[in-house]
């Protein structure tokens, strides 16, 4: 286990280095940082001081090392618009993103589990086909359009729920529905397929032969096996949700990290973009790491391989 842990940690560190390196060169590829980082009306004098201050007059490898050490200290520079450290701005927005992502994640998983199990218990192939068909259709609807349709129905037409911003629980409902219905569709289809695979196994036939009822076989024998793939995908998805609420946050003007990044792009606020991308990647990686460790703990084949 110790070997696996070290290897996996090393891999994460390498990835982090890769992300930072890619960011560094992307910014350089985009052009001279002075034109990007300074307002258009800057005088040549200001540009010169700025270059020295940023160390842009130094050789590229020196700049690269400096960028890395600063980034690892959490220093991504000062936001060009807000005049506060970029990382601080990003961290301020994290709770909002967490709130939305976690709510949608839990709601999605719980609903998928409830619907998946009850559809199986009903034993109706027609009902199962119908539910899976709806899930497939939901997966094909782009989140931003789905969110907009929800706003149209519940905010504009019925006037039941607010469409913008973050506040009480009422603000959370529409964005959470937008994201979690997508999650439900995804998990439901996955759950259904893994239950279908388990249903063909010998142990299921044996259980039925012993005279156990459908619900006993399903809950006692099939569920524990069918849940394992669901856990993996759910874990990866939690990471994706935390980074991927960008679009939903924009639709509902939800003040999270994703929206901050999009706003910073249109304001050309590069330090904030870099800090935002870095923080999201870091969270995404940490979640992946935790899942891998959890998985290695649950399934010895993984850590011994």
């Amino acid at each position: 286990m110790a070997g696996f842990l070290t290897r996996r940690l090393l891999q994460s560190l390498l990835t982090l280095l890769g992300v930072l390196t890619a960011t560094f060169f992307l910014v350089r590829l985009a052009g001279d940082p002075t034109t990007l980082l300074l307002p258009v009306e800057a005088t040549p004098d200001e540009i010169a001081t700025f270059r020295t201050a940023l160390g842009l007059d130094r050789p590229l490898p020196v700049q690269y090392v400096k960028f890395l050490t600063h980034a690892l200290e959490g220093d991504f520079g000062i936001s060009l618009r807000q005049r506060t450290p970029a990382l601080e701005l990003v961290l301020e927005r994290l709770p909002a993103t967490f709130e939305l992502a976690l709510t949608s994640f839990i709601l999605g998983l719980a609903l998928a589990f409830a619907v998946g199990v009850s559809v199986r218990l009903s034993g109706s192939a027609r009902l199962r086909t119908f539910v899976m068909w709806i899930a497939l259709a939901r997966q094909a609807i782009p989140v931003f359009w789905f969110g907009l349709l929800l706003i149209l129905l519940f905010s504009v037409t019925l006037r039941w729920l607010p469409s913008l911003g973050r506040g009480g629980i009422t603000h959370l409902i529409l964005p959470a529905i937008t994201l979690s219905t997508y999650e439900v569709a995804l998990y439901l289809r996955l759950f259904n397929s893994s239950l279908a695979t388990e249903a063909k196994q010998d142990y299921v036939r044996t259980a039925f032969a012993k005279g156990q009822s459908r619900s006993q076989v399903l809950i006692k024998h099939m569920l524990p096996n069918a849940l394992l793939p669901l856990v993996t995908i759910a874990g990866i998805n939690l990471g994706l949700l935390l980074g991927g609420t960008v679009v939903t946050e924009t639709v509902f003007s939800w003040p999270g990290v994703g929206r901050l990044i999009v706003q910073s792009v249109s304001q050309r606020d590069y330090p904030v973009i870099i800090a935002g991308v870095f923080v999201v990647c870091l969270i995404f990686m940490m979640i992946n790491l935790i899942i891998d460790l959890l998985y290695a703990y649950l399934d010895p084949r993984v850590r011994l391989a």
Partner: protein, 282 residues
């Protein structure tokens, strides 16, 4: 089961035909004017008449531009970018995947390490960062969407070539002095291509949604060129007055994406393809 699959297939074909007709027939119609502004006839609802008495089938946007015409042009742009990006990612993915699987060793380590690196950043975020830095022209979008999507092909191509290269027909070619390039081209490539086309058809829908999402965020296709995502976003400000501005382009986007998805789903055997279950649009 058979009955359902045929129904899904028919539905998919119907949706794709509708989109196909939209982007092919509409530009031939007499009222086709995706850029023509007419401020006197702005924000018309579907089937209202313009100032000059002409019927506007899908209505007009805030600048009085014809929605139907813009949707048709936007569809062409979306499909063009989507197909080109799939082509780019397929070529990159197949080449890297085959190289990794055939040569193993450090080639494989580097290529697959790069794939892992790319997967450690959510694709939307990666695209936002990259388009923010490099700008989003149509050509840029094609290339960037393509370059950020090669991993799906690369992994499958690598996995397949790992087993293919141990097969007799490849080994015997090696013993007779075949170069790696020849072997990869003649023996590996034809064997992985059918699978790559399947991956590509799953990816097409996702790429089109990604492009629409980027355009919705204002980071994709830039005005005045129309895009479904951009139209949805422009329409969002007028939801109270004319919801069709956002609903109609979204419907076209849904029909294209769902059509492609449903068709691939019913053509590749149900349950066989786990990939289809875990695909993630934005």
């Amino acid at each position: 089961m058979i009955h359902r699959m045929t129904f899904t297939t028919w539905l998919a074909i119907a949706m794709l035909t509708a989109v196909f007709l939209l982007i092919t027939i509409v530009p031939w119609l007499s009222g086709y004017a995706p850029y023509k502004q007419d401020l006197a006839s702005g924000l018309l609802l579907p089937f209202e008449r313009l100032e000059n008495g002409q019927l506007s089938v899908f209505g007009t946007d805030s600048l009085g531009r014809d929605i139907l015409s813009r949707m048709a042009l936007a569809g062409r742009v979306s499909l063009f970018i989507g197909l080109s990006a799939v082509a780019v990612s397929m070529v990159v993915g197949v080449v890297l995947g085959l190289l990794a699987g055939y040569f193993r060793g450090w080639t494989e380590t580097v290529i697959m390490g790069f794939a892992d690196l790319q997967l450690s950043i959510p694709r939307v975020l990666l695209l936002i960062a990259v388009t923010a830095m490099l700008g989003s022209t149509v050509v840029n979008l094609m290339i960037l969407l393509g370059l950020t999507s090669w991993v799906a092909y690369g992994r499958v191509a690598r996995a397949m070539s790992l087993s293919l290269r141990e097969r007799e027909f490849v080994l015997s070619a090696i013993t007779q002095g075949a170069t790696p390039a020849w072997n990869i081209r003649k023996h590996l490539l034809p064997n992985v291509l059918p699978q790559m086309v399947i991956v590509g058809s799953f990816e097409l829908g996702q790429i089109i949604v990604l492009e629409a999402a980027l355009s919705y965020l204002g980071l994709g296709i830039q005005p005045p060129l129309p895009s479904w995502g951009l139209m949805i976003s422009e329409g969002q400000s007028y939801l109270e007055i004319n919801p069709w501005l956002s609903v109609l382009p979204g419907l076209a986007l849904f029909m294209l994406v769902a059509g492609v998805q449903f068709l691939t789903q019913s053509l590749t055997a149900e349950g066989e393809d786990e990939r289809s279950l875990t695909v993630r649009t934005v």
